[in-house]
Structure formats: structure tokens, C-alpha cells
Amino acid sequence: MSELFSAPWTRPDRAGEAAIEHLRKGQAHSPSNVFSSDLSVDEAILIGEAGYEPKGLVSGSSVFHIGYVTSWVGSAEVPELSAAMARAREIAIARLVEDGRRIGGNGVVGVQLDINMLGSHAHLAEFIAVGTAIAPRRSTRATHHPTPSFFTSNLSGKDFYLLSRAGYHPLGLVMGSCVYHVAYQSAGSWAKMQSKNMELANATEALYSARELAMTRMQSEAIVLGASGVVGVTTEEKSHVWGSHMIEFFALGTAIKLASSEHKRLGITASVPLEDQIVATDPSAITGRRRR
């Protein structure tokens, strides 16, 4: 038996035999010990290689009322809305963390943040955070760097493994939001400018300010966490429910810290994959044009 079990890497065809025999026994498990996870098989293997195991799929939601603004004058940030957008995401993430702790997790990887608008309530938005809670494996071969406290991260299983192998651990999601109002032009100046080539300076400036404020807020969150840096930053510019004169600039990333004394070299090997991009049944293959 043990010879068979140690064989799968050298004889993948022998693994099937053991697998089918195991299925035949049809062993039931206690539902409370069964995990669920949105990790792919590759991610699950790499998470295991980093010394962790999935504990369960976790989520946090906040249905938030956004949109009422007391006043806006010219091109400026709308602080009430910036605060509301940030608060709603914080609540969703806090509930995700609560869910993760409840099932014995040590952190959450692959966190996806989304906003869904709820039907006829134009200003009712659902902020949702979903990810897989993980914890150090009980019998682990190599624990690279146990994370000190509960973390959240938008990194994939592959990213988590690579960072852990290079000597880093994630500290937490960091984000910055800025809702900005771009001033309307007066009808007179609009009419005057229609025939000219010109930069819309106030719109450009508004974008700059919004970006600057959002990125600064994200950065100060990283400083508070004591991070070495922020990776996997994504930025988003959206008007949500407000119309084209209001935008939210949103920056999201994972703060990481170098756990060992220095970055560990990964020993990267260059490779040339023998994968064709041409698919025989694709009509563009006949014309010689390359397919994506």
C-alpha cells in the first residue's frame, strides 16, 4: 500500500487505482470538518506547498446607502461620499474577517471586492468581499513564515506562494477612495469653446487630485500597518450611480512585509514554451493571422 501511495509522481497511472479504491469505500465526513474554497487546483497545491491549508470560503457584505450629498461647489472632493465608500468596504471586509476567524482561519487570500447595485433603489449598493480563509497546516513540511496576525489579501494562491518563498508575508488589504466632482461649464463658455482644440484643464486637474488623494490614503494605511511595500495594486475609475460629473477613484493593494532579513532569491529559469497560438479551426488561422 505505502509503496503504491508514494508512487503517484513516478507512475501517475497507478494513482488512479488507489483513487478508485478509495472512492469505492465511500467514506462520509463530518460536515463541520469539510472545507470549501474558490481556489483552483493549482492554487490549492501551491498554498499547501507554502505550508497552509484552505479552511473555507468566506464573505462579508454591507448594503450601503450612498448618494445623498449636502452640497457641492465647483471641482472638489465630495468628502461625505469618499467616507461612505471607504466605510462600506471596511464593514464588508470586517465581516469577512469575522467569518474567517470563526472557522479558524489565519488569513484570507484572493479577496475580491465588488459593488452590486440593488434594483430600484438607485442609491442602495451592496459592497461584497469574498475569499478563501487559510491556516497553517497541522502537519507541515515547511512553514516558511507564519504570519503574525490575521491578514487579508487580494493576491492569488500563486502570488501568495511566490511571496512566501521570497521571504515576505502579507499584512493586509490597503485601500484608498476619493469621490470627486468635476465642475460643470457655464453654457456661455461651453458655446465659446466648441470650435477650439483645447485641454479641459479642470477635468484633468480633477483626475489628478482624485488619484493623488486615493493613493495617499492607500499609502497611509500601509504605513500604519508597518509594511515594507504594497503589491498587486489595482486602480479603478467609476461614476457608479452619480452620472458623468462625479467619479470615484479607488486604489486597492496588499501590504506586505519582508519577514526574513533579506529577499530570498528564487532561482528563475528561462523557458521557451512550445505552445502555438494558432488554432486549426479558427478562420483567422487560414489567413495566417495570429489568434490571441
Binding site: 503517484p8 501517475p12 487505482e17 469505492r24 474554497s37 457584505s61 449636502t70 462600506a88 528563475i268 523557458s271
Partner: protein, 296 residues
């Protein structure tokens, strides 16, 4: 449909998948399918009277055996004594809808598995699930599953073949790391939220704030879906991976929301403790510039 011995098999496998399947000691048997068109018996309960009749069919029992989720949100102003403008809100789990959706899913899956069994297959890989409303009615649904049945030469047939939505590559990776896919499982969480006066006041407020009752309903719908998925996975597995969630929410009436989460994934069973022989090699592929990566 029984597939004649000696006739060529059909499959939706790619050439690479076929190569990996044969390398793992399995062979394709044929495409198998299972389908069910199902009506959820809930239409009569969709009226406006619903908001106050939750006790009528009550919290009931969850499909997993435990008590279903049900919470009352009393009037926060303390006037709830039959006053016209003050009333409680309720969140409750629609166990009837959950049971219906789950049954329809398993009808389709069992038909697909029966086809696989009829052809002496050990399991089905790469199952695609189609779930769509029929005739524009949200409560009539078609569940269809299609996948490639596979067999391992020399192993006795299984009473219950395995099924999985994973690709053959993933199937092979599981096998060599000591896991086998068990079942393609579903978890459904449906919560109905009927707002009380507390919610009504929150919605009219000028403050941007968290609408607790709706947040709770959505959170609970996802939590129940995950819990049911894990329960289904426990029949023959120790974990469910590759979970995909589908979320929908709509209004049934004023202040009444219907919130549904459907989660599917493959339960897996460990048959051996097999660590990777070496740390994975870190590769940097040198590839051509993608022709499509220009200005868009």
C-alpha cells in the same frame, strides 16, 4: 444512452487533455448528459401579503437538518403595538426554494451519472453546468450537465461514479498529489428580507449608512449556500474546491427582497499524503509579443 462497444467515442476533450488522461491511466468513454426542467412551486406566495405572512410557512427546517435562519427586526422606536406606521421586519430562509433548486440539480446530475454507469465509466470529468430560466419565468428552470465519462481499464465499476467540473489537467494534478474528485456538488442559500419600519427609516435617511437588515440577509444567503455546499461535499469528500458562486437579488414587492446564492464546486477526497517531490521550478516563459496587446 448506452454506447456500443468498439464504436468510436466522442468527447469534448482537447488533444492535450486526451494525452494527460491516457497518461493517468484513464480512457474516454463518451459524452454524457443529464437534464431537468423544474418548476419551483412558489408563485402563489409571491403576492404583497407575503410581507406579513412569514409565520405562515415559517422558519421550518434547513435541508441540512438544522434549524433554518429566521430573524425578527422589531420596530426600533418602541411603538410596535399595532400602530399603522410601525411594524417589525423579518429575514427568513426560503427552505422551500432551496430544496427545489437542490432537487432539480441532483435530478440532472443523477441522469448524467446513470449514463456514465450504463457505459461502465468510473467518473465524469469537465462537467459544464447550464442553469437558465425557461420561457422567461424565473421559477421555471432548466438544469443541464454535459461532461466526458472516463474509465480506468482493469478497475471494477463504481456504484456511484465520480463527477467533477475540473479539467483533465486539474484531474491529473489532483491524482498525483493524492486527491481524487468525488462529486460535483451544489449549495443553495435563499433568504427573503421583508423590511420593517426600521429599514424604512434608514432608507429615507440623509445619512450614508449600512442598511443592516439587507446586509444580514445577503451575508446569510452566502453563508447558507457555503454551509449547504460543505454539507453536500461531506457525503464523500473532505473539502470542496474550485467553488463558483452565482448571486441574484430582486424585489418581490415594496421593501421585500429575494436574495439567492448558488454555489457549485467539486468535492475531493484524499487517498494518500503525497508532497511535491521538489519545490516547483520557477519559470519565466520567453514568448512572442502578443499581437493584440496594442492600443485599444
Amino acid at each position: 444512452m448506452a454506447i456500443e462497444q468498439g464504436r468510436p467515442w466522442s468527447s469534448d476533450l482537447s488533444a492535450a487533455e486526451l494525452a494527460i488522461l491516457r497518461e493517468s491511466g484513464f480512457e474516454p468513454v463518451g459524452l454524457v448528459m443529464g437534464s431537468s426542467v423544474y418548476q419551483l412551486g412558489v408563485q402563489s406566495q409571491m403576492g404583497a401579503s407575503l410581507s406579513s405572512s412569514w409565520r405562515g410557512y415559517g422558519p421550518g427546517n434547513s435541508p441540512t437538518g438544522g434549524a433554518a435562519y429566521a430573524v425578527e427586526y422589531p420596530c426600533p422606536h418602541g411603538y410596535f403595538a399595532g400602530g399603522l406606521d410601525h411594524y417589525s421586519g423579518f429575514n427568513w430562509e426560503r427552505t422551500d426554494v432551496e430544496a427545489g433548486l437542490t432537487e432539480a440539480y441532483y435530478l440532472a446530475r443523477s441522469r448524467m451519472e446513470q449514463e456514465a454507469k450504463d457505459n461502465a465509466a468510473h467518473g465524469v470529468v469537465g462537467v459544464h453546468l447550464t442553469l437558465r430560466p425557461v420561457g422567461g419565468m424565473w421559477h421555471v428552470l432548466e438544469f443541464t450537465m454535459i461532461g466526458t465519462a472516463v474509465r480506468r481499464e482493469g478497475s471494477a465499476p463504481l456504484d456511484a461514479p465520480f463527477s467533477s467540473n475540473l479539467s483533465v489537467q486539474d484531474f491529473a494534478k489532483l491524482l498525483v498529489t493524492g486527491y481524487v474528485p468525488a462529486d460535483f456538488v451544489i449549495g443553495v442559500g435563499v433568504v427573503q428580507a421583508s423590511g420593517g419600519c426600521g429599514l424604512e427609516y434608514q432608507l429615507r435617511s440623509w445619512n450614508d449608512q449600512d442598511i443592516t437588515q439587507f446586509s444580514d440577509a445577503i451575508q446569510e444567503s452566502r453563508r447558507q449556500a457555503t454551509r449547504h455546499l460543505e454539507h453536500e461535499g461531506s457525503r464523500r469528500g473532505e473539502g470542496v474546491i474550485g467553488v463558483e458562486m452565482r448571486f441574484s437579488s430582486f424585489e418581490l414587492g415594496e421593501r421585500v427582497r429575494y436574495i439567492q446564492t448558488i454555489a457549485v464546486g467539486t468535492s475531493v477526497l484524499r487517498f494518500a499524503e503525497v508532497p511535491l517531490p521538489n519545490p516547483p521550478l520557477i519559470l519565466m516563459p520567453l514568448v512572442d509579443r502578443d499581437a493584440n496587446e496594442g492600443l485599444q
